[in-house]
Assembly symmetry: C2
Homo-oligomer: 357 residues x 2
């Protein structure tokens, strides 16, 4: 209940602060089809990317269209890191996990001799930054083992309230890509149910998905650790164990979508080769489908990386996009805004380790 | 697309046939809070069970109540076998799996020497009927290995269209408990999101959950086999393997709820000791919760079984219900109708093996 109240206070604050931008509206509360127009996509330039999106949505939501898709089947899936918010120089989840490793290192003298802890404690973050979702899930599992789901959620919540991205000097929860928030709102207004399908820990991402993207917990699919269900003196708890259970990346993405949603998506957005199976699975459905990759081409406003990046590598996906009919969104050319305008009152103290190279 | 059309045709037929009963309305399409009254629960007698349900729903949905629960947090979970439809003399899924074993036995000469196949092929179903969800999942996994998700779904769909329960001489899809359909409708009308949490195969149950209960695929949580994601000559498929991945029973129920929904339910209904952890997990949440067991006390209209039943055993749950504040629904006393009135046109040829003893 306290957690719920906390969430509502945060949500209220976010609404106040984001009055000048798209408010991440609760999924499920969409208006009637046709009410939303392409004007919602104000941060998208009038290029092929935006036109492709609007044409597609119009095609499948116009009742007279031969490609009309009933509302119940309008499922759109989005990767999170690098698709809805930045993942450089390291994923936000990894920054969070590293801080916890340092906090609890005193209880683990053996870490001074064990990798990756030894390097982390010495401040050498190069290898761990390149270890991707698998690496950060292993760290999370180890560093947060023994916490209940509620304790973990409270810790994540608190961390988001007190941590900022050092380059942009803004809370991480402020760094959703504005064009993607608009896209989520546009799709919901057209009857789509929007899901996150992330390699990040499902509990970590759920804590921020509602306030950042308006996506409720049950529409977040993510990696998981193993849990223990226990009943001690009448108290029931789900306790996190030090072991990764599922890693939702690559081919595990379509498998997780099938298991949780049970319908093939109509729209899929990703940004890396690890998202390719999700896009393939979506594209292979009967009827029209929209699969797209966000291409990070904007070193000035965000980051520029693709084929040789150690995290969020996009190589094969770029080669195959043309042949597969996938839309490639060029961040520099297709977006006139990357982040919503900063509000001085939302910045918090910087807390991220700065030495990733 | 063909599968979708098929589904709509079926849905249309069901709507026509069930004009005299509660139509399983699509979840998510609920009316405003307050619009639904207890009158919806016409098949419930005016006993303590019905009053407890109505009082609880009124308590948590009245905005002025100190126990008011916001719409987004109104999650209700239901076991399937024995809670929403019969599970005796064997679960419907087991009947389906057995038929497949017989159909494909010619390709598996080794089954003549392997249990449980040997007994099944000889018509001795006693042990397999007592093997519960675990046994039927193992059979399903083996007998349907190598099928894609789509092929499996089509087979299940076809089977439901052509198979009937031999005792009631009605299609299995007609055998939802009418009071439970009314309860689902009543909860939805009061802003609850209704989920199935079943030990049955998630793909099997999804094929029938929409048309029977109005519950869409993404609100069905169930057991799973392992899958292979493969891309062959441009064709993408998820292929069922001969191995059970997760069995959603006992403590695995709250774990699966946490993983998929990410919120603790407000209401949980089950009928067996295997549902107890789901009820405990629900009851242990902050604020008011409703946990309930359907007690099979009606040999005449359905079945009578509890403490010594080989499947759907309810023993510890009955002992603990009082102390834990769980509602026990007495099928004989609390329900004035068990199944919706039969319609002559919906019966199909009986196909279930009859020798369970």
């Amino acid at each position: 209940m306290i957690r719920s109240l906390h969430r509502y206070c945060i949500a209220f604050t976010v609404v106040l602060l984001s009055a000048c931008s798209v408010t991440p509206r609760q999924d499920g509360g969409e208006s009637q089809a046709g009410a939303a127009t392409a004007a919602t996509l104000a941060s998208w330039n009038d290029t092929r990317a935006k036109r492709s999106i609007v044409d597609f949505v119009t095609l499948v939501t116009t009742p007279e269209s031969k490609d009309f898709i009933p509302r119940a089947d309008r499922i759109a899936v989005f990767d999170n890191d690098g698709t809805l918010w930045p993942e450089q120089p390291a994923s936000v989840q990894l920054v969070f996990a590293l801080q916890r490793v340092k906090t609890v290192a005193g209880r683990h003298p053996e870490w001074k001799r064990q990798e990756p802890f030894r390097s982390i404690l010495k401040g050498n973050l190069r290898n761990v930054a390149a270890s991707g979702d698998a690496g950060s899930m292993r760290l999370l599992a180890t560093a947060h083992a023994g916490m209940t789901s509620e304790q973990f959620a409270a810790l994540v919540h608190e961390w988001f309230d007190s941590s900022s991205d050092p380059r942009f000097n803004r809370p991480y929860a402020d760094l959703a890509y504005q064009p993607m928030l608009e896209l989520l709102a546009y799709l919901r207004a057209n009857g789509f149910k929007t899901y996150l399908v992330t390699g990040g820990d499902v509990e970590f991402v759920r804590e921020v998905a509602q306030r950042m993207y308006g996506i409720p917990p049950e529409q977040v699919i993510g990696s998981t650790v193993k849990y223990r269900y226990s009943q001690t003196n009448g108290a029931i708890s789900l306790t996190r164990l030090a072991q990764v259970d599922t890693l939702v990346d690559g081919a595990a993405k379509p498998l997780a979508i099938d298991r949780v949603i049970g319908r093939r998506p109509v729209i899929a957005f990703g940004n890396a080769d690890g998202d390719a199976p999700m896009l393939e699975w979506t594209s292979a459905g009967d009827g029209p489908r929209l699969a797209a990759l966000v291409h990070h081409t904007d070193a000035e406003r965000e980051y520029q990386y693709d084929r040789t990046s150690k995290s969020g590598k996009l190589d094969k996906g770029l080669d195959e996009a043309g042949a597969k009919g996938w839309l490639v969104v060029d961040m520099k050319d297709d977006w006139n805004t990357v982040f919503k305008p900063a509000s001085a009152t939302t910045s918090a103290a910087a807390s991220a380790p700065a030495h990733w190279a």
